[in-house]
């Protein structure tokens, strides 16, 4: 999520709070969740990177085994 998208999400939550659709503790929790979702997104990307590395190493080992 870009900083601009983050700002829009936070603004949407603020609007819901201003309209009385969320109370203060719910609003705070949901804003905090936006940060958690971003952290999870980054960690998931790291895990995917590791999966790609694993596949590359596996392929190298396969090729090396075929050559021997």
């Amino acid at each position: 999520m870009t900083p601009h998208e983050l700002a829009i999400t936070a603004q949407n939550l603020k609007s819901q709070f201003d309209l009385g659709l969320l109370n203060q503790s719910e609003f705070k929790e949901l804003v905090n969740n936006v940060i958690i979702v971003e952290t999870i997104n980054n960690d998931a990307l790291l895990l995917e990177e590791n999966i790609v590395y694993h596949t590359i190493i596996d392929n190298i080992i396969d090729i090396a085994s075929a050559l021997v």
Partner: protein, 139 residues
């Protein structure tokens, strides 16, 4: 001389980091059907539950079920070797599910907007984790 030493030292350090990274990648926890099944329950259930947000009593049951499944997933994945990143992901998801559960356990009424937005966040996060878990190497 100092500059050359610094360059060699930094290369050495980055080399170690890359080697550790490759080691972790190669020996990472493999795909696990039970782990995938548990995260799938959370994805599906949180997505379907949005239509029950108008009913607090029903949502109390739903949030309890989500909390139990999330706890089961957290416990299950934390005992798989070389599974650190997935454990981190599942712990973050568990925090969100626990917040929802606590709110329905402690409050008499919860705002419908909160319920819908919270379930949407849980569903999005569970979906991200599920996609990543499903890609893990089979063998």
């Amino acid at each position: 001389m100092k500059i050359i030493s610094a360059i060699i030292f930094s290369l050495f350090l980055s080399g170690c980091a890359t080697l550790t990274n490759l080691y972790d990648s190669y020996y990472m926890a493999k795909y696990d059907t039970s782990e995938h099944a548990l995260i799938n329950v959370i994805t599906v259930y949180s997505s379907l539950a949005k239509s029950s947000c108008y009913n607090d009593r029903r949502m109390k049951i739903v949030s309890k079920h989500l909390f139990e499944t999330s706890t089961e997933l957290k416990n299950f994945s934390s005992h798989l070797p070389n599974n650190e990143l997935t454990i981190k992901l599942n712990n973050s998801l568990h925090i969100m599910v626990e917040e929802l559960h606590t709110r329905y356990e402690n409050n008499k009424s919860v705002n419908k907007t909160y319920c819908e937005l919270k379930l949407q966040s849980i569903s999005d996060v569970a979906s991200i984790i599920q996609k990543t878990i499903a890609k893990r190497p089979r063998s």
